[in-house]
């Protein structure tokens, strides 16, 4: 097994998924919103980046737009598109709470996925957009894959700092107040529904950016990369790391991606054993999920650490 290559992949993909997990953490732990369709915002970012940087369609291509703009325009567009999509989907869904919100966001993500799959004029349908522009290349002696890992890590760091700034401000304390007691917060003048909508919109932006970086990294924007499974994986990462802890969420993302990449990179002798390994990976992830929710080890560690100080 090629460990350095594996670790660099884990660092890159882990950072990308870490960004999504952080956004989910903000929505769930601070905003009290269960978003079961987070993959859609991720996909919007990836597709927007691909469409903005893609050359005009030719030959067998069925997509209608390829703007062929520089990469930074694509990245900006990805963030903006995710924001716009959050505004569009948040408007009807955020009136719902709890599990109804979970179901509607899930429904929106499925509708969007089925749209990408069937509407060839956006992104070639099932085939997807390939050869998505990779802007960085080798930086002198540094190979491209390290540059990528660094870019992904920077995005994660930037998201982390931005969210921390936000949550440390009076705005963040107001959010916590709403989460803890909505009636009390509203009666002291905090617009709960409005603030929740703002959190939903703000947290969609880094998810869109992460989608753009993901599309660069895989050089693909394809419906099969953006299934409900992505949503579940990010949720598992969030729950793994303790849903209330920002660092836990990031650690959970890295741990899960590491686990998956190891299984993927393992040299299997036969197709059948590789297939069984894939199923075992599913079983193990599921068990981990159940066990962590049941015993909540990370919450306990945190509480103990707090009690000591």
């Amino acid at each position: 097994m090629n460990w350095p290559q594996l670790l660099i992949t884990v660092a890159t993909i882990g950072s990308i998924f870490g960004v999504v997990t952080l956004a989910l953490n903000l929505q769930y732990a601070r905003g009290g919103m269960i978003n079961f369709g987070i993959v859609a915002y991720f996909a919007v970012g990836a597709y927007t980046y691909a469409i903005f940087t893609q050359p005009s369609p030719k030959g067998l291509d069925q997509y209608a737009f390829g703007l062929d703009w520089p990469w930074w325009a694509g990245v900006l567009a990805a963030g903006t598109a995710a924001l716009a999509f959050a505004a569009l989907t948040g408007w009807p869904t955020l009136r719902l709470r709890g599990e109804y919100l979970a179901l509607t966001t899930f429904a929106f993500a499925e509708v969007f996925h089925s749209f990408l799959l069937n509407e060839r004029r956006i992104g070639n349908g099932t085939v997807g957009l390939s050869n998505v522009e990779r802007p960085f290349g080798d930086w002198g002696p540094i190979e491209e894959k390290y540059v990528f890992a660094a870019v992904a890590a920077l995005l994660l760091l930037a998201t982390l700092l931005a969210f921390r700034q936000l949550l440390a401000s009076p705005y963040g304390r107001a959010l916590d107040a709403i989460r803890d007691d909505e009636v009390a917060a509203e009666s002291s003048g905090k617009p709960a529904a409005n603030m929740r909508r703002q959190v939903f919109l703000i947290s969609a932006v880094p998810v869109g950016l992460a989608g753009a970086v993901y599309a660069m990294f895989t050089t693909l924007a394809q419906p099969s990369l953006f299934t409900a499974e992505v949503t579940f994986i990010v949720w598992i990462a969030l729950v793994l790391g303790g849903e209330r802890s920002v660092y836990g969420a990031m650690l959970g993302a890295f741990g899960l991606v590491f686990f998956e990449e190891v299984v993927r990179a393992w040299p299997f002798e036969t197709v059948r054993s590789a297939q069984i390994a894939a199923s075992v990976e599913h079983i193990f992830t599921g068990l981990l999920f159940i066990a962590v929710l049941r015993f909540q080890p990370f919450d306990r560690i945190q509480r103990r650490m707090k009690a000591r100080t």
Binding site: Y100, T104, E110, V111, W235, S279, I283, T285, G286, L293
Partner: protein
């Protein structure tokens, strides 16, 4: 004529969706959370039938009921070992846990069955042509079974002591408990019932669909669509919304490509939620 043919297919799809969703809705009402793993219970039913029928050579009329009983027991065991200990953490944690359960069941089925299409050892469907519309005998069985299950469930919940106790618990658990209703027994009966219903739907899935291991997971989308549309209502809204979604999905094929079927189902759901955030039933969530 073609339109009527699609309409017929839609009614059959709707009846299957009723079978698949009734158990899910029952869990939602009585146990108070959305059990994402319900679709994987369908998978257990379908693949147990396949294994008993195709590998062990049991007749479908024996293999089917055996699979239903097995699925009901598996559902009860999962509920007692996994859901019960975390019940007090609330519906969101239960919902997320059930996703984990779905992963585990899906993985186990995948590891045991493997990829590829599985077929039952039963005769090919016979086609009838009343009024020029093609209907197969298996399609008729699905419709008949959905009707029989709905009627017997309605009778059970309205006429028997335990059925009334289950409904009492669904409406107000604290009051039901303080009035001396045995919470444990009703919970166990509910799990057996809802998982058994998933088993019935699973057997039907094995009979009418091309069976692959990823099929059960795809059912959850449609089950969710029907359940959201029905809202927190009675059995009857599940029947109505099952038919609405089934017919809408299949009739839409008349105008737009078949790939858009899930999109049609969820578009209906979203439109309904925009106007009635509580679904068709009209009762607010507690």
């Amino acid at each position: 004529m073609l339109f009527l043919q699609y309409l017929t297919a839609g009614i059959v799809t709707g009846c299957f969706l009723i079978l698949a969703t009734i158990g899910f809705s029952l869990t939602r009402q009585v146990e108070g959370f959305l059990n994402i793993a319900h679709a994987e219970l369908l998978g257990i039913g379908a693949f147990t039938t396949w294994w008993l029928n195709a590998s062990q050579g049991w007749h479908i009329l024996i293999a089917g009921p055996a699979a239903v009983i097995f699925t009901a027991l598996v559902g009860l065991v999962i509920a007692r070992t996994i859901y019960d200990p975390i019940r007090r953490r609330g519906p969101a944690v239960l919902l997320i846990t059930s996703t984990g359960v779905a992963f585990v069941i899906g993985g186990v089925i995948d590891a045991m069955v493997g990829t590829g299409i599985r077929t039952l050892d039963i005769g090919l469907a016979t086609t009838y042509k009343p009024f020029g519309i093609r209907v197969t005998d298996y399609q008729i069985i699905v419709v008949a079974l959905a009707a029989a299950v709905s009627v017997s469930l309605a009778l059970f919940l309205n006429r028997t002591r335990i059925g009334l106790a289950i409904r009492a618990r669904a409406v107000n658990p604290e009051l039901a408990a303080s009035r001396g209703i045995d919470v444990r027994t009703t919970s166990r009966v509910t799990w057996l019932l809802s998982s058994g219903l998933a088993g019935v739907a699973g057997v039907m899935l094995a009979v009418i669909a091309t069976l692959t291991t990823d099929l059960p997971f795809h059912q959850i989308l449609q089950i969710l669509a029907v359940a959201i549309l029905a809202g927190l209502g009675s059995l009857y809204t599940v029947i109505a919304s099952g038919l609405i979604i089934g017919i809408a999905m299949d009739v839409s094929v008349y105008w737009i490509p078949a790939g858009y079927r899930p999109l049609v189902a969820f578009s209906i759901v979203i439109i309904v939620l925009l106007f009635r955030s509580e679904g068709l039933a009209g009762t607010k969530a507690a």
